[in-house]
Point group: C2
Chain length 240, copies 2
DNA sequence: TTTCCTCGGTACGGTAACGCACAAACATAT
DNA sequence: ATATGTTTGTGCGTTACCGTACCGAGGAAA
């Protein structure tokens, strides 16, 4: 990560914004507003109108697909490598997914209207967002197969690794209940897997405070899906 | 469906192409080539370069996500409402999914290079493809949750309905083996579900020839996911 | 200190789907 | 007509995960 010295405008640590040419970025900058991402906050409800798009600088947000108002499954994780509110970019004003803050952080956000104008004027923004769209689709498709076929331990290991990469830390706050909604299993099953990981010295986990102790060990348990997803986005590879 | 009279150039029955303004369509037309989609043909292999994009006029193609070179799960169905080769539109030249012809038909195809130029010159093409991208993402995300949580009978009913809508016919050729790869279960499980459907008079199924007899009955077995996906694309709603 | 609530640990029977195995029905080639 | 391969039907033991139920531990509030 090269030192960005000191240019006219302070650069964002969001990868998408950082990839913009100076001119485009400065133009965007005026319309961006800094907001906190608090644990458990809902960014978008299923079916609701999207008022802002978010560019996380830190922290992560989970995209969940819900069935029967109860059960949810994570279909994507977005951190500082991406953006929330992709439907707006694609010409739709609502989201079919639930977006939930999963790891504390900070984001820059822009009103949906402004964002649409910004996309229309800047080719580079479009190009970058298309690439991100692709990597998110890959993530979703691969997770779909993974969640269908792989045993819970592998899936949970994959989830921990992906979260680690995007949070850029091996320590985060997450209840078993929350985790169960991500991995798509019951809380009890999470508990069981967590205890095994704990006993094997891979993690420590106490009252919502989870620390990754053995990255390599987790990688050996996780399925190849982790690699596939990592490869789908240049930044993900850097992370891991 | 209004009668398109007789314009300069014959209109395609592909919804995306049909939605283009006359000028853009005529421009495209020269670069399009008509090809047959034969049952079981592989359009894209996982990881391979995409040489052409396809606009199906009839028939359907399944997008599969594979794990361990063996097991596959369908993450999208594309028919005359869509296009194959979306990664090219999104700036990537390879596909992480396997695209398999699932129902015979005809498609118009264009060389990837030409297609890229076409997108750069025509705003309308971009706009339309973005909308399609969104609906495909919705389809993938909803299927992911569905395949994780819903019982096989519901999922298979959903699959039959979606195929029916896109093929615009209730009769199609499909072996149980093939079907099992779509729904993400064992062939034996497909067999069991099929027999139940058969006994209940919902379908007839013999040596790969499947006929839907009771559309309403299937809808009552299918989960809400069918509705969610249908709503994500204006054309899907028309179909059902 | 007591109360309350969230979160975590554990157990146990039930069941949907898996893995394997094998045979019948049918289609096609020789 | 006989052989060979493909598709289908079915049975049975195994397993991963679900549903439910209940208790304990820790933190926050009264």
């Amino acid at each position: 990560m090269p030192d960005t010295k000191k240019t006219e405008t302070k650069r964002s640590t969001n990868y998408l914004l950082a990839a913009l040419p100076d001119k485009d970025y400065e133009h965007c900058y005026k319309k961006l507003e800094r907001v906190e991402l608090k644990y458990g906050t809902t960014i978008y409800k299923t079916g609701a109108t999207i008022n802002h798009v978010y560019f996380p600088e830190s922290g992560i947000v989970s995209l969940l697909s819900a069935v029967e108002e109860q059960t949810t499954l994570e279909v994507g994780i977005v951190g500082s490598e991406g953006m929330l509110g992709l439907p707006v970019f694609l010409g739709v004003s609502t989201s079919n997914n639930l977006a939930l803050v999963q790891g504390e952080g900070v984001a820059l956000r822009m009103a949906a209207d402004d964002f649409i104008k910004e996309c229309a004027s800047g080719d580079e923004m479009s190009r970058i967002l298309k690439l991100f769209t692709y990597s998110l689709m890959t993530q979703t498709a691969q997770s779909a197969a993974c969640n269908r076929f792989h045993p819970i331990n592998s899936r949970m290991a994959r989830w921990l690794l992906m979260t680690h990469d995007r949070m850029r830390t091996g320590e985060f706050q997450i209840t078993q209940e929350f985790l169960s909604n991500m991995v798509g299993v019951r809380r009890e099953a999470v508990n069981k897997a967590a205890r095994i990981f704990h006993d094997d010295g891979l993690i420590s986990y106490n009252r919502g405070k989870l620390s990754i102790l053995d990255l390599k060990g987790l990688k050996s348990i996780a399925c190849e899906c982790y690699q596939v997803i990592s490869k789908s986005h240049p930044d993900y590879e850097k992370m891991s």
